[in-house]
């Protein structure tokens, strides 16, 4: 979904790493997503709607995934590294969500009072 422009390189699993060109395109993609995020912050109708928080989390998750897959070449490397990372990441995210529930903060997508 994310890096459709760089798909050709992404299909060569284990064959060879992406080229410099792929990296530059990826950087461009990440920049665009960041610009979208910052614009959303300043665009009141979006920023004040209930969709704001989920959309921001989604966009940053996309950036996170792309950096891990392409820059950290998890997509191209031995599966071991993916497993070594995804396990701890899952536990970290679940713990964070658990803590938010326990402290009554699970509803972070509703506006929080000052």
């Amino acid at each position: 979904m994310a890096d459709h422009a760089h798909a050709p390189a992404a299909h060569d699993e284990h064959a060879h790493h992406p080229t410099a060109k792929t990296y530059v395109w990826t950087a461009l993609f990440l920049t665009i997503v960041t610009i979208v995020e910052i614009s959303a912050y300043y665009y009141k109708p979006w920023e004040e709607s209930w969709i704001y928080v989920p959309s921001m989390i989604f966009l940053s998750a996309v950036k996170f995934a792309v950096v891990c897959a392409v820059y950290m070449h998890l997509k191209y490397d031995h599966k071991l590294f993916r497993n070594l990372f995804v396990g701890p990441l899952t536990i970290a995210v679940l713990t964070l969500i658990g803590l938010l529930f326990l402290f009554g903060k699970a509803a972070i997508n509703l506006s929080t009072p000052a």
Binding site: L80, G87, P88, I91, A92, L94, T95, G98, L99, F101, L102, F103
Partner: protein, 629 residues
């Protein structure tokens, strides 16, 4: 398989392995995982005894009502240090002794992935342990419980240096464990001999593998909790400052997110050791190997989801209580499965009740008792009655003393011959076991009753005639019995080092790779890296053409164990840089407490520590591991 266990063959005493193990320098500069394992063992046994003495004073104080042996303040220091010592300075390092000594041998490797980092872990542990233990001699020992609940441990309620020692000491010790965690994860993934798939690994290595993940995932959380406390105490932040709106439960949640995986860190290595001993002395493979592996992994994973069962009385609400109650009940399943698998291993086996076997059976039975009281805790309404009473003290001592410590003793008796080339006296070992079993049950059994009769934890004395007196007296008498047992063990340990019967390469007729090399092993471990074709390499091979007679003939002739130079095996060189880096690190972190005492000295000490640390780290990172390449 005709191999027997008892008396060794009367072959002439073999020459020890190539190089002598003497000389202080060789110990300070070693990067050999076996020597580092021995260092951990001796240091941890020392702290085990020290923590035991702290318990002895506690039990002397509580033997009768209204005693004045120690003041309330000193009592707080005693129970805090007893817990901190046993958890962080005794049990974890005893497990580390086995991780270090055994894992490379069990997987057919020459050493761990990062030998110098390994040495660094040990020295940081030693110095951190001394740092956190020393203040008791000045009456300044940490006194906030081993779990250090904030806000009690904030500067407002604990103004002295006691908690500063605790916070900084634990940070130092955390670094030691984390470094070792990364080291062993890499070692187990990447240095297994050809043919040793994950599902052919010995059970001790498997359990240790799970433990290393628990360490690297749980310790960062307590690091953060401690950083918050440290920053509050030193720099005036407000993480635990109620008057600034801080949540009184933040510490508890963060601590127990670490604390619960920590108890699995404490028990799984013992489970692993017992899983080596029981099959050996039942002459049967471990029952349900795969199930044992998966249940270990499941325990590790689920262990991150049960933490708030330590907080059932704080008012989290019915949903949180129910969720954590359920997950806690769930985790009893994979744990219970292991008990049945050990019993099934013994069923129908040719049982040999050596000392390691007795201690292993001890773990299975005592841990079951502790597990049952644990399951009773998993129900929030029941726990509301039990929490903060001696019932809980009974529970965790059954699982930690009856579980972890017994498993570790099983491991010590079992692996002593491999480590030191001599057997421990089995008769004395049996005295140790039985006296220890009686003492342990007499000490902790009655606590179930005094706890349910309402005796709270962490009280330095109590009034008579509340129904607690006789139980407390029993516990104190039991403690004296434990002391006797421990003295027998110490005597056996040291006298066996000097003149125990010489052990061969495989006195027990065991099945795994570590028993295929001399006792003690040469520094390079394996002359040739073995090719593994089964879970029980020695048993499977010996069923074939080779008879025991053939082995003995070979061994008697091969008295000379070749050196690494003779075999052309490049070995890492000795270096004191890790020890020096550890010293710099500990001075840098420990020195921070001088901020409360004297500012110029604070800067000088922390600065010097930083320079030594960075300098030796730089020298370490820029020098090669092995000499001539």
């Amino acid at each position: 398989m005709a191999t027997t266990v008892a008396a060794p063959s009367y072959a002439p005493p073999r020459t020890r392995t190539a190089e002598p193990t003497g000389g202080i320098w060789s110990w300070i500069a070693t990067t050999d995982h076996k020597k580092i394992g021995v260092l951990y063992l001796f240091t941890a046994l020392f702290f085990f005894i020290f923590g035991g003495l702290e318990a002895a004073v506690i039990r002397a104080q509580l033997a009768a009502p209204n005693q004045t042996l120690v003041s309330a303040e000193l009592y707080n220091q005693l129970f805090t240090m007893h817990g901190t010592t046993m958890v962080f300075l005794a049990i974890m390092p005893l497990s580390a002794a086995f991780f270090n000594f055994l894992i490379p041998l069990q997987i057919g490797a020459r050493d761990v992935a990062f030998p110098r980092l390994n040495a660094f872990s040990y020295w940081v542990y030693l110095l951190g342990g001394l740092f956190i233990t020393a203040p008791i001699f000045a009456g300044l020992a940490p006194d906030g419980g081993w779990f250090g609940y904030a806000p009690l441990t904030t500067r407002q309620y604990s103004p002295g240096l006691n908690i500063d020692f605790w916070v900084l000491g634990l940070q130092i010790l955390g670094i030691s464990s984390l470094a070792a965690g990364f080291n062993f994860i890499t070692t187990i993934i990447n240095l297994r001999a050809p043919g040793m798939t994950l599902m052919r690994m010995p059970m001790f290595t498997w359990m240790s593998f799970v433990v290393q993940f628990l360490v690297v995932l749980a310790f960062p959380v307590i690091t953060v909790a401690l950083v918050f406390l440290q920053f509050d105490r030193f720099f005036g932040t407000n993480f635990y400052t109620l008057s600034a709106g801080a949540d009184p439960l933040l510490w508890q949640h963060l601590f127990w997110i670490f604390g619960h995986p920590e108890v699995y860190i404490l028990i799984l290595p013992a489970f692993g050791l017992v899983s080596e001993v029981i099959p050996t002395f039942s002459r049967k493979p471990l029952f349900g190997y795969s199930v044992m592996v998966y249940s270990g992994i499941l325990i590790g994973f689920l262990g991150f989801g049960v933490w708030a069962h330590h907080m059932f009385s704080v008012g989290m609400g019915p949903i949180a209580d129910t969720v954590f109650g359920l997950t806690t009940m769930l985790i009893a399943i994979p744990t219970g499965v292991k008990i049945f698998n050990w019993m099934s291993t013994m069923w129908g086996g040719a049982l040999k009740f050596t000392t390691p076997m007795l201690f292993s059976i001890g773990l299975v039975s005592m841990f079951t008792i502790g597990g049952l009281s644990g399951v009773s805790h998993s129900s929030p309404p029941a726990d509301l009655q039990q929490t903060d009473t001696y019932y809980v003290v009974a529970h965790f001592h059954y699982v930690l003393f009856g579980g972890s410590i017994m498993g570790i003793f099983a491991g010590i008796y079992h692996y002593f011959p491999k480590m030191f080339g001599r057997l421990m006296h089995d008769g004395l070992g049996k005295w140790h076991f039985w006296i220890n079993l009686i003492g342990m049950n007499l000490t902790f059994g009655p606590m179930h009753f005094s706890g349910l009769l309402g005796m709270p934890r962490r009280i330095y004395t109590y009034d008579a005639n509340q129904g607690w007196d006789v139980y407390n007296l029993m516990s104190s008498v039991g403690t004296a019995i434990i002391i006797v047992a421990t003295l027998i063990f110490i005597w056996n340990f040291f006298s066996s080092l000097r003149n125990g019967p010489v052990a061969g390469r495989d006195p027990w007729g065991a099945s795994t790779l570590e028993w295929s090399i001399p006792s003690p092993p040469p520094n390079y471990n394996f002359a040739e890296i073995p090719k593994v074709t089964s879970r029980y390499p020695l048993w499977d091979l010996q069923e074939g053409d080779l008879t025991r007679e053939h082995h003995e003939r070979h061994e008697a002739v091969d008295d000379h164990v070749p050196t690494d130079k003779e075999l052309g095996i490049p070995m890492p060189s000795d270096t004191a840089k890790p020890a020096l880096a550890a010293l710099g690190l500990c001075v840098m972190i420990g020195g921070m407490l001088l901020k409360q005492v004297n500012m110029p000295v604070f800067f000088m000490v922390v600065g010097t520590g930083a320079v030594v640390f960075v300098g030796s780290l730089y020298a370490w990172l820029t020098s090669p591991l092995e000499e001539a390449h």
